[in-house]
C-alpha cells in the first residue's frame, strides 16, 4: 500500500459522518482564524511599507532636486563674482579677457564666456575650444539674454543641445558698476552634462531611476541620453502633467502608482527645482517597488499554510480518538456486507456502542443461517437453468434438424433419467406425425410405431390439443387405456409415460414421448422444464424450416444470375439465340423450350432446345397460338394440361399430345416495356407452375430480351463500321493524290517563276541596257505580282508538305536578336514609303532559343505582312516579351487595320480561308498565311491567340518555348 493510500485511509469519508463533521468544523474555525489574522496583518504591513517607500522616494527626489538647484546657483554665483571683478576693469580690455579665461580654466562647466557692453555688443569672447578674433564679435542687443539682463536681473535660458550632442544653458548676469547702474552683461554657456551623471547615478530600490524635465515637460536628463537627444517631451505623462499644472510649487508630490515614462506601471514622485522651474521625477517599476512586500506576503502565506497543516493534523488526531469505536462498527458492517459472515466486531468501549456491537454480532449469526437455506434453493434453480441452457445451446448449434433433435432428446433423457424417448414431427401437410429421433437409437426390443395421424392415439391427441399428457403409472391410470390405440407402452413393460407437444409460433409441429420402467411423479418444476425444452425444440424446427427455404431461394437466384451473366456477354446472334432457349429450358428443368420474335403480324421462331420433335411452324400469327396469347395479354401464361384445356385449338392440342407434352409456360420478352417476342416452355409431366417458378423465368426473359436487343445493335454497328472503313480509305487516297498533285504543280510553277523574277530584276536594274520609265513601271508591276504569285506557290507547297507529313524542323540554338534583325529588315522593306507608323516594343536581351529559327521568322513575317495588308492607315506595333516563369517568349503583332468579325475569328486559321473583305479584291492572297502560321506553331509547340474588333484593329499573339 502506498503512502498516499495509507493517508487516504486516515481520512475516509471527509464529506460525511461524525468524524467528517468534526474535521470540517474544526478546520473551518482554524482556517477562518488563521486567514483573518494573515489578511489583517498583510493589509497593515502593506500600508506601512507603501508609506515608507513613498516617503523614501520623495526624499530622494528632493535631494536630487536640491543638488541640481544648488549646482545652478553656484554657477550663477560664480558668474556674478566674475561680473563684479570685471566691473572694476575697463570694458573690453585684456584684463577682462584674462579673467574670463581664468574662469573657463577653473570652472569646466563653462565653455564660452562673453562680455557685452550696455549696447549689447560683444567686447570680449573667449572659448575653451574656439578662437574668437575681434572681427568675430557680434551684436547681441536683440537677444533675449541681453534684453532681460540689462534691466538688472539674471537670466537662465531654456536647455539646448550643442552640435556635439551635449546639453547647455546660457546664464547671464548684469555687469554693475553701482548697485543700480548696469554697464554691461556677462554671459556664459554652461554645460549641463553633469546633470546626466547626477541623474544617471540615482539608484532607487532595485530598478528605480530618475529623470529631469524643464518647465515645458522636455526631458533634460535621463540615464538613457538618447531619449534626451531625441528631445522627448513628457508632458503627457500623468505625474509631469501634475507638475506642469503648478510649476512654482516647492514640495515634492506624494508617491503614486501610475504609468511611467515607458508606459509601464510605476511608483512615481516628482520634486520641483524651484530656482529653475524644472522637476526631478523618480520612478520605480511597481513590480520592483513591491518586491519586498511580495516576499513578506509569501512568508505570511507560508506561515498560514504551516498553521493549517499543523492544526489539521491535531484535529484529525482528536476526531480519530473520538470516533474509533464507531468506525470499528462501520468496518465490521462493511466486511459482513462483502460476504464474510464469520466476522465479529470487537469493541470494548464499555458504553452503548459496545452493546450495539454485541447486537450486531447476533444479527450476523442469524443472517448466516438464513443465507445457507437460500443458497440450497438457488443451487437447485441454477441447475435447472443450466440444463435448459444446455438444451438451448444444442438447439442453436446447427440448422440441420436431425442431429439436433437426436442430441436434444439424448440430453433430456439423461437429465430426467427417462428410459426411452421418441420424437415425432408433422409432415408437410401437417396431417401425419413421423418419428424423427429416438433415444436410445439402437434399442431393437421396442416395438416402433413410425407414424400417427392427427388425433390418433395419445400422441395424435396431444398433437391435436396442444396439451401435454402425463401418466405416472399406466397400469393404474384408466385414462391411458381409454386413449391409447397401440398399447405399446404397456406391452413393453413401461410404467411411466408422458407425451409433450412441440410448438412453434403457437402451432403444434410435433410431440415427444418419454417412458420409464417404474411409476414416477413429475414435480411442477419438472413439468415446466420439460415444456420449456419442448418449446426450444419447436424453435429449432422452425429455424431449420426457414433455413431450408432461404437456401432454396438462394440456389435459384444464383442459377439465374449465372445464366444472365452468360447471355449478357454474348453479342453474336448465332450463338446467343440457341443459348437463350437452352438456358430457359434448364432453368425450370423443362423438356422443351423455344422462343419467337415478333416480325409484323407474326411470331417467328428464333431458337429452340429439346422441342425439335414438336415440328414447330417457323411463323405463327399473333392470334392463333399460346405464344400469341402471351403477347396479347402481355403476361406469363401457364397451362397445366393441354389436353384438358378447351381454350386451346384442337390442332395445337393434337401436336402436343403426339409429342407427349402436358404442361406449358409462356413468358413475354420485353425491352423498355415493348414486347419483342415470347419464351415458350413445355413439360411432358403435368406441372402446376407456382409463382416462385414463374418469377425467375420472367426475370430471365427480361435479361434475354436486352441481350437480343444488344446483339441486334451490335450487328448493325458492325455493318456500319465496314461501310465507313471503305469510305475512309477512298478519302485518304483522294487527299494524298491531291497533296502530291499540288506539291508537284507548285514545284513546277516555282522554277519558271524564279526565272521570270530573276530576269525581270536584271532588266529593271538595267543589266541588259537602258529602259524607259514606262518600261520600268511595267517591270516593277511584273516583279510585284510575280513575288505575290511566288509567295502563293510557296505557301501552297509548305501546306502540302505539311499535309504529306514531309515538313521537317531545322532546330538550332540561336539568339533571338538575329531573328529580330531580319524581321526589322523585312518591315523596312514593307514600309518603304512610310505608309504606316511602326512601333517596336522589344527588350535588349533575351535568352537563347533552341528551335527552328527560319520558321519563327516566317511566322513573324506572315503576321506582319497581314498587318500591313489589312491596315490602310495608322500604326503597327510589334512586341516581344520574355515570359520568364513560363520559360517562353511571347510575340505579338498589333495593327489598327480593318479588324475581324467575331464570327470569323475561329475560321481564319483554316486553309484557303479569307476574310469577307478579301473577296472584294482589295486585298491580295489566297488565305494560306495564317493556316501555315498555325501549322508551324503546332510543329514548334507554340500557341496563338487573336483579339480583334472590326474597324479598330487586331492583335495576334503567339508564344514559343525557349527550347523545343
Amino acid at each position: 500500500m502506498t503512502s498516499w493510500e495509507k493517508l487516504g485511509e486516515q481520512f475516509p469519508r471527509w464529506g460525511g459522518g461524525i468524524r467528517g463533521r468534526l474535521l470540517w468544523v474544526g478546520l473551518f474555525f482554524l482556517a477562518a482564524a488563521l486567514l483573518t489574522n494573515t489578511i489583517a496583518g498583510s493589509i497593515y504591513t502593506r500600508r506601512q511599507i507603501k508609506k515608507t517607500a513613498a516617503a523614501l522616494q520623495a526624499e530622494v527626489a528632493s535631494r536630487v532636486a536640491r543638488e541640481i538647484g544648488e549646482f545652478m546657483r553656484r554657477k550663477m554665483e560664480r558668474l556674478s563674482d566674475l561680473s563684479t571683478t570685471l566691473s572694476l576693469r575697463e570694458l573690453g580690455n585684456e584684463e577682462q579677457r584674462l579673467f574670463a579665461l581664468l574662469v573657463l580654466k577653473n570652472d569646466r562647466s563653462f565653455t564660452d564666456i562673453s562680455i557685452l557692453d550696455d549696447k549689447g555688443t560683444e567686447v570680449v569672447k573667449v572659448s575653451e575650444r574656439r578662437v574668437y578674433l575681434l572681427s568675430e564679435l557680434t551684436d547681441q542687443s536683440a537677444s533675449e539674454k541681453f534684453k532681460r539682463v540689462i534691466k538688472g536681473k539674471s537670466y537662465v535660458s531654456p536647455v539646448y543641445t550643442s552640435d556635439k550632442a551635449e546639453p547647455y544653458v546660457t546664464i547671464a548676469v548684469p555687469l554693475k558698476v553701482t548697485p543700480q547702474l548696469v554697464a554691461g552683461v556677462v554671459t556664459a554657456e554652461a554645460n549641463l552634462k553633469v546633470f546626466w551623471e547626477v541623474i544617471g547615478e540615482v539608484g532607487f530600490g532595485k530598478a528605480g531611476y530618475a529623470y529631469l524635465v524643464d518647465g515645458q515637460g522636455n526631458l533634460i536628463a535621463h540615464q538613457d541620453p538618447s531619449l534626451v537627444l531625441k528631445k522627448t517631451n513628457l508632458s503627457h505623462v500623468h505625474g509631469i502633467r501634475e507638475f506642469l499644472r503648478n510649476p512654482t510649487s516647492v514640495d515634492p508630490s506624494p508617491a503614486k502608482e501610475d504609468l511611467g515614462i515607458t508606459g509601464k506601471p510605476v511608483l512615481s514622485t516628482f520634486a520641483p527645482v524651484p530656482e529653475l522651474g524644472w522637476a526631478v521625477i523618480l520612478e520605480e517599476p511597481v513590480d520592483a517597488a513591491w518586491a519586498e512586500l511580495r516576499r513578506m506576503e509569501r512568508y505570511a502565506y507560508l506561515l498560514l499554510g504551516l498553521g493549517l497543516v499543523v492544526g489539521a493534523a491535531i484535529i484529525v488526531w482528536v476526531s480519530n480518538k473520538i470516533t474509533r469505536p464507531i468506525r470499528e462498527l462501520h468496518r465490521g458492517a462493511e466486511i459482513i456486507g462483502k460476504g464474510n459472515l464469520d466476522y465479529r466486531v470487537e469493541v470494548s468501549s464499555g458504553d452503548e456502542i459496545e452493546q450495539l456491537a454485541q447486537e450486531f454480532n447476533k444479527m450476523a449469526t442469524e443472517l448466516k443461517a438464513s443465507y445457507a437455506t437460500l443458497e440450497q434453493k438457488v443451487e437447485q434453480r441454477t441447475k435447472e437453468l443450466s440444463v435448459l441452457y444446455d438444451v438451448t445451446a444444442t438447439v442453436n448449434q446447427s440448422l440441420e434438424i436431425e442431429p439436433v433433435l437426436q442430441e436434444v432428446i439424448r440430453k433430456i433423457t439423461e437429465i430426467f433419467n427417462f428410459d426411452t424417448m421418441r420424437l415425432y414431427l408433422f409432415d408437410g401437410q401437417m396431417e401425419v406425425l413421423h418419428v424423427r429421433a429416438a433415444h436410445p437409437a439402437d434399442r431393437q426390443d421396442l416395438p416402433r410405431v413410425r407414424a400417427f395421424r392427427r388425433g390418433q392415439g395419445i400422441v395424435g391427441k396431444v398433437a391435436e390439443t396442444g396439451e401435454p399428457m402425463i401418466f405416472e403409472d399406466i397400469l393404474s391410470d384408466s385414462r391411458y387405456r381409454e386413449l391409447t390405440s397401440t398399447k405399446n407402452t404397456q406391452t413393453t413393460g413401461f410404467r411411466f409415460f408422458a407425451a409433450v407437444p412441440i410448438k412453434s409460433k403457437f402451432k403444434t409441429v410435433g410431440v415427444f414421448i418419454c417412458n420409464g420402467q417404474t411409476p414416477r411423479r413429475l414435480t411442477s418444476d419438472e413439468v415446466r422444464l420439460v415444456t420449456s425444452m419442448a418449446e426450444e425444440i419447436g424453435v429449432a424446427v422452425e429455424h431449420a424450416r426457414l433455413f431450408e427455404e432461404v437456401a432454396r431461394k438462394s440456389r435459384e437466384l444464383q442459377a439465374l444470375v449465372e445464366i444472365n451473366k452468360g447471355i449478357a456477354a454474348l453479342l453474336d446472334r448465332e450463338i446467343l439465340l440457341p443459348r437463350i432457349a437452352e438456358e430457359a429450358r434448364n432453368l425450370l428443368k423443362m423438356d422443351g423450350a423455344n422462343f419467337r420474335l415478333i416480325e409484323g403480324e407474326y411470331l417467328v421462331l428464333a431458337g429452340e432446345s429439346g422441342s425439335e420433335n414438336l415440328s414447330l411452324r417457323p411463323r405463327l400469327r399473333l392470334d392463333e397460338s399460346l405464344s400469341g396469347k402471351v403477347v396479347q395479354e402481355n403476361r406469363a401464361v401457364a397451362v397445366r394440361d393441354f389436353l384438358e384445356d378447351p381454350t386451346i385449338i384442337e390442332a395445337h392440342r393434337e401436336t402436343m399430345r403426339k409429342a407427349g407434352y402436358h404442361s406449358f409456360l409462356g413468358v413475354p420478352l420485353r425491352v423498355a416495356g415493348r414486347i419483342i417476342g415470347t419464351i415458350n416452355l413445355y413439360s411432358k409431366e403435368e406441372r402446376e407452375f407456382r409463382p416462385e417458378e414463374i418469377n425467375p423465368i420472367t426475370s430471365f426473359a427480361d435479361q434475354a430480351a436486352i441481350a437480343i436487343q444488344n446483339a441486334n445493335l451490335f450487328a448493325e454497328v458492325k455493318q456500319k463500321t465496314v461501310e465507313l472503313e471503305g469510305a475512309n480509305r477512298e478519302i485518304v487516297e483522294a487527299s494524298r493524290a491531291k497533296s502530291e498533285f499540288l506539291a508537284a504543280m507548285s514545284h513546277e510553277l516555282r522554277t519558271p517563276l524564279n526565272v521570270i523574277i530573276g530576269n525581270t530584276d536584271l532588266i529593271k536594274d538595267r543589266f541588259f541596257g537602258e529602259i524607259t520609265e514606262k518600261q520600268q513601271e511595267a517591270l516593277e508591276k511584273i516583279l510585284r505580282y510575280s513575288r505575290v504569285l511566288l509567295k502563293l506557290i510557296n505557301d501552297v507547297l509548305a501546306l502540302t508538305r505539311m499535309e504529306a507529313k514531309k515538313m521537317s524542323l531545322d532546330v538550332s540554338t540561336f539568339s533571338l536578336e538575329e531573328v529580330i534583325a531580319h524581321v526589322r529588315t523585312y518591315v523596312e522593306q514593307m514600309n518603304q514609303r512610310n505608309r504606316l507608323r511602326v512601333l517596336w516594343d522589344v527588350k535588349d536581351h533575351f535568352p537563347l532559343m533552341t528551335t527552328d529559327a527560319l520558321k519563327v521568322e516566317e511566322i513573324l513575317q506572315n503576321l506582319i505582312g497581314n498587318a500591313f495588308k489589312f491596315t490602310p492607315k495608322g500604326q503597327i506595333e510589334i512586341r516581344i516579351r520574355d515570359l520568364i516563369r513560363k520559360k517562353r517568349i511571347e510575340f505579338s503583332v498589333s495593327d489598327t487595320g480593318i479588324g475581324i468579325e467575331e464570327g470569323e475569328l475561329e475560321k481564319i486559321f483554316g486553309d484557303f480561308y479569307q476574310l469577307r473583305e478579301a473577296h472584294t479584291g482589295a486585298y491580295s492572297g489566297v488565305g494560306l498565311g495564317l493556316s501555315i502560321v498555325k501549322k508551324y506553331l503546332d510543329l514548334l509547340r507554340g500557341d496563338i491567340h487573336v483579339q480583334s474588333q472590326p474597324l479598330k484593329g487586331s492583335t495576334f499573339s503567339f508564344t514559343l518555348p525557349y527550347s523545343i
Binding site: 584674462l98 581664468l102 580654466k105 578662437v131 556635439k164 551635449e166 538613457d224 538618447s226 537627444l229 507560508l302
Partner: protein
C-alpha cells in the same frame, strides 16, 4: 508516509522562499593601444572602473595589447580579441579604434574609444554612433586653432609655422584641414611637411631651421610622437617654439600644448563602459567631449630657446614644467 509529508512541506517552504540568485559575472575587457603615450588613458580607465565597482581580479579581467605603431599588429590584436569573445574592447587612439571597429563588424562586442582625435570618421553623429562604438572625442584636432592662439600668445612674432604631418596616418587629411584653417584665421604661413616614416623625419629635421620657419607644430600622431625627442632637439637647437598636441610630449621637450588629459579621458570612458555593462546600447550613448582640457608649459624649453613666458599665460596654465 511521514517522509512524503515532510518532503512536501519542505518543497512548499523552498518554493515560497526561492529568490533568484545571480552568479557574479567576470567581465573580460580587451585594451587595444597604438603607442606607449596612449596607455595612460587605459590606466585612467582602470582606476575609474575600480571606483565603479569593477575590480581587476574580482569581477573584471583585462587583456592589454600595444601594437607600438605597427598597423598589422594592431589588426591582429583586434581580431584576437574578437576570437576571445571579450565583453568589451577599449581603445585609446583613432587608429586603434578603426582596427577594433573593423574586427568587431558583424558582432555585438561593444568598443569604447577613450580618445579619438577625429571621431566623425568613426561614427554616424555625436548623438549616436549608430553602431557598436561609444567613446570620447579628445577634441585634439578641433582645438588646433586654440594651440595656434597659444603659440601667438607665447611668441607674438611668429608668422611662419612648419607643420609636421603623417601622410599615412588616419587623421592626415583632417589634421591638414584644421592646420590650414587655424593658420589662416591667425594669419600664419604654413609649411606643410608630409612624413611617412621615422627615417623621413630624421631626414627632414635638419631642414627645419630658424631661416625656414618661426615655429614648429606637431599634430596628435603616433609616428611623429615616437620621434618627438628628435623634433624637440632640433627646435631647441634652432631656438624655435615647438607646440605639440599631446600633454606627454611637453615633458619630452616640447614648449607647450593645450590638450586633454589622457588619464582623465580614461576615467571618463570607464563611466561609458559601466553604462554598457548595465545594459545601455553603445548606439544610445552620445560621443562625449573631454571634461577637462589642460594648458601645460615647459619653462625649461622656454628658457632654452630664449622665450619669456608672459605672466598671464603662466596664471592660466594647469601645469608648468620647470
Amino acid at each position: 508516509m511521514k517522509k512524503n509529508v515532510l518532503a512536501l512541506g519542505l518543497g512548499y517552504f523552498l518554493v515560497c522562499l526561492a529568490t533568484p540568485v545571480e552568479a557574479q559575472k567576470v567581465y573580460h575587457i580587451g585594451s587595444l593601444n597604438t603607442a606607449e603615450q596612449f596607455t595612460n588613458a587605459f590606466e585612467g580607465f582602470k582606476s575609474r572602473m575600480a571606483e565603479l565597482g569593477y575590480r581587476e581580479g574580482q569581477n573584471v579581467r583585462y587583456d592589454f595589447y600595444n601594437a607600438k605603431g605597427r598597423e598589422e599588429a594592431l589588426n591582429n590584436f583586434a581580431r584576437k580579441m574578437v576570437q576571445d569573445r571579450v565583453d568589451l574592447i577599449v581603445t585609446s587612439s583613432t587608429s586603434a579604434t578603426v582596427a577594433a571597429a573593423r574586427a568587431t563588424q558583424g558582432t555585438d562586442i561593444p568598443v569604447v574609444f577613450l580618445s579619438a582625435g577625429n571621431p566623425q570618421r568613426l561614427v554616424k553623429s555625436f548623438a549616436s554612433s549608430g553602431s557598436n562604438l561609444a567613446g570620447i572625442s579628445s577634441a585634439s584636432l578641433e582645438i588646433t586653432g586654440k594651440r595656434f592662439e597659444l603659440l601667438r600668445e607665447l611668441a607674438p612674432s611668429v608668422k611662419r609655422i612648419a607643420s609636421l604631418n603623417d601622410a599615412g596616418g588616419v587623421n592626415f587629411q583632417a589634421n591638414l584641414n584644421e592646420v590650414r584653417e587655424g593658420a589662416k584665421k591667425l594669419g600664419f604661413t604654413v609649411w606643410e611637411i608630409e612624413l611617412r616614416s621615422r627615417e623621413e623625419i630624421l631626414k627632414v629635421l635638419p631642414t627645419i631651421t630658424a631661416k625656414t620657419t618661426d615655429a614648429i607644430f606637431s599634430p596628435p600622431d603616433s609616428l611623429i610622437t615616437e620621434s618627438i625627442e628628435f623634433v624637440a632637439k632640433q627646435a631647441i637647437t634652432e631656438r624655435l617654439p615647438l607646440i605639440t598636441s599631446l600633454l606627454a610630449n611637453v615633458k619630452r621637450g616640447c614648449l607647450a600644448t593645450y590638450a586633454a588629459n589622457y588619464f582623465e579621458l580614461g576615467k571618463q570612458g570607464a563611466v561609458l563602459a559601466g553604462k554598457i555593462f548595465r545594459g545601455t546600447k553603445p548606439s544610445d550613448l552620445p560621443i562625449e567631449l573631454p571634461h577637462k582640457l589642460m594648458l601645460v608649459i615647459n619653462l625649461k624649453t622656454a628658457k632654452a630657446i630664449g622665450l619669456k613666458i608672459p605672466r598671464e599665460i603662466l596664471i592660466r596654465a594647469d601645469e608648468v614644467i620647470e
